[in-house]
């Protein structure tokens, strides 16, 4: 143990430790979890010379206000985030996608995410966290992961196991692109819905509800009419599945989703659009657009190449 730590002055709304997530556990009811926006998670770690699978602090809407004690370290924030850094005599507005050095007594104050949901704070070093099933990711519903599976709270202290010796400042030009059309493939119960229901799904606009969280994104808008059965025998889910319960309002499964569910699946959001989907704040408009499997696979490959290219540039 060393003497480097962060004290939480204000925790923010939904602040957790996240990493690459945990797999091979769906069959016992434990979801993937992990950073919601994977690309921004990876970039944050790269900017501070961390391993790409290191733990970061994920926050939603309002982030934490933290005070640092210890030797000099680097930190970086990714996403579309408004934050400030308070040093002895000065306070500066911080920029995302660039690392900063902080020293004993400095404060990081993450005020809000701008027209988006999630932001990431990576710290140059390794946090002292409990791992469960090879991941520190906090799942607040099942209380799994570091911090007893609970979101971070005021007055808590975050300790470092070690800090990075390489403290070069790094920077990358990156802008989070927004999309209005979320691309989907037909779900396994697509034919449970009436012709009009299918048309509603593809042609009408839906609004992201404020009842959305890491488990799921609820949508409001025109009801999607089911003409067959509003329940199915419970079966497995994956992130991106769009279920439509009896009330006709779609719910998109996100990273902490229940592993099985009994509502008909009208569609599935394709992998390439997941990072951008989770960043759609309540009130955003969503329209679904159908694509086929081979296009979905190709687009994901391109997106992945772009991510690797961004990481390579840092």
């Amino acid at each position: 143990m060393n003497n480097n730590y962060l004290d939480i002055i204000r925790p923010g709304i939904n602040t957790t430790f996240q990493d690459k997530g945990r797999d091979h556990l769906y069959h016992i009811g434990i979801p993937f979890s992990g950073a919601m926006d994977n690309r921004n998670y990876l970039i944050a770690n790269k900017l501070v010379n961390n391993n790409l699978d290191a733990a970061v602090i994920e926050f939603a809407y309002q982030g934490p206000h933290l005070k640092y004690s210890g030797e000099k370290i680097n930190f970086a924030i990714t996403g579309d985030v408004i934050f400030s850094i308070k040093k002895k005599d000065t306070q500066i507005e911080g920029n995302c996608y660039q690392s900063y050095q902080i020293e004993n007594g400095d404060e990081i104050n993450i005020l809000s995410t701008n027209k988006s949901v999630y932001g990431y704070l990576a710290l140059g070093g390794e946090l002292d966290l409990k791992f469960q099933w090879n991941s520190c990711s906090i799942n607040t519903k099942a209380n799994i992961g570091s911090n007893d599976g609970k979101k971070l709270d005021a007055g808590q202290r975050i300790n470092f196991k070690k800090i990075n010796s390489n403290k070069n400042i790094k920077k990358i030009d990156y802008i989070n692109t927004k999309i209005e059309n979320i691309r989907v493939m037909k779900g396994t119960n697509f034919d449970y819905f009436s012709e009009q229901g299918k048309q509603t799904f593809y042609e009408k606009e839906f609004i992201v509800s404020k009842l959305s969280d890491r488990m799921g994104m609820r949508l409001e808008g025109p009801k999607i009419e089911n003409i067959f059965d509003t329940n199915i025998k419970s079966e497995g889910l994956i992130k991106g599945v769009i279920q439509v319960p009896a009330d006709g309002n779609p719910i998109i499964m996100l990273s902490d989703h229940g592993t099985v569910g009994g509502y008909p699946k009208i569609g599935v959001v394709v992998s390439v659009d997941y990072d951008r989907l989770v960043q759609m704040a309540p009130g955003s408009k969503i329209k679904f657009k159908e694509i086929n499997l081979s296009d979905a696979e190709t687009l994901f490959k391109l997106y992945e190449m772009e991510t690797q290219n961004l990481l390579y540039q840092i």
């Binding site: 797999d23 091979h24 556990l25 769906y26 069959h27 016992i28 009811g29 434990i30 993937f32 469960q132 099933w133 519903k141 099942a142 209380n143 799994i144 599976g149 493939m185 779900g187 396994t188 025998k233 419970s234 079966e235 497995g236 889910l237 994956i238 991106g240 599945v241 229940g258 592993t259 099985v260 569910g261 699946k265 599935v268 959001v269 394709v270 992998s271 499997l293 979905a296 696979e297 994901f300 992945e304």
Partner: protein, 224 residues
């Protein structure tokens, strides 16, 4: 056997074993699940067996639908494969402190409290799957005269340990969670323990479960 394989989005395979819910179809699902799990194909992230479906999700960076489908179509399932299933007794206290929905069940089923408990307790139930929340077992089948729909409005908080029924199934809430099943009692056993990483679930697919009634005194003095 698998009747049809399709894709669920671009990162999962949907293996359909039919529409009925019975032990023999579910045993097939579990055999496939165990065999695929042992083979550890590069890129497969998760396997989710349920009553009559198996969902295989994969990392699109490492593999794709075509490759995983081919692997599943050519896999050899040993019919005699042992499932290592256990028989477990679950103590359950049906004191009125816990049996929140007994009155509702009495009305729906037109059976007395005594008759409902007599029908429910001391019978073998088969674990079809676990999930929704960590470790929650889906057990069946309840007798025909015991089948009730779920609550119209689900509870926001169902207490940990609640033993509940809906349609032909029973389950146990492994921790406090929202839920709409009819609650009959509560077990003091920890059915899910996240500190046991190797075996967090007490009950696993293929296991047999029997509910044994305990008194409130026994419940309060319960020691694992």
């Amino acid at each position: 056997m698998i009747k049809n394989i399709s894709n669920l989005g671009d990162a999962a395979l949907y293996c359909d074993f039919g529409n009925e819910v019975n032990k023999s179809i579910n045993s097939q699902v579990i055999k496939y699940f165990k065999t695929i799990k042992e083979k550890k194909l590069e890129g497969i992230n998760n396997l989710t067996p349920s009553y009559n479906k198996l969902i295989i999700s994969y990392d699109l960076r490492k593999t794709n639908f075509k490759e995983v489908k081919k692997f599943i179509e050519n896999i050899n399932i040993e019919e005699s494969k042992k499932t290592n299933s256990k028989k477990l007794e679950i103590p359950v206290c049906c004191h009125e402190n816990f049996s929140m929905d007994i009155k509702r069940l009495e009305e729906i089923l037109k059976l007395s409290r005594e008759k409902i408990l007599e029908n429910f307790l001391n019978k073998d139930y088969f674990c079809y799957m676990t999930g929704f929340i960590a470790g929650m077992p889906f057990l069946g089948d309840l007798d025909e005269n015991m089948r009730a729909q779920r609550l119209e409005t689900p509870r926001v908080k169902v207490p940990k340990g609640s033993v509940a029924v809906t349609e032909q199934f029973a389950n146990i809430y492994t921790f406090e969670s929202p839920g709409g099943w009819n609650i009959l009692g509560n077990t003091p056993l920890d059915v899910f323990d996240s500190s046991k990483e190797e075996k967090p679930n007490l009950i696993n697919p293929g296991d047999t479960v029997i509910f044994k009634e305990i008194t409130l005194d026994q419940y309060n003095n319960f020691n694992e």
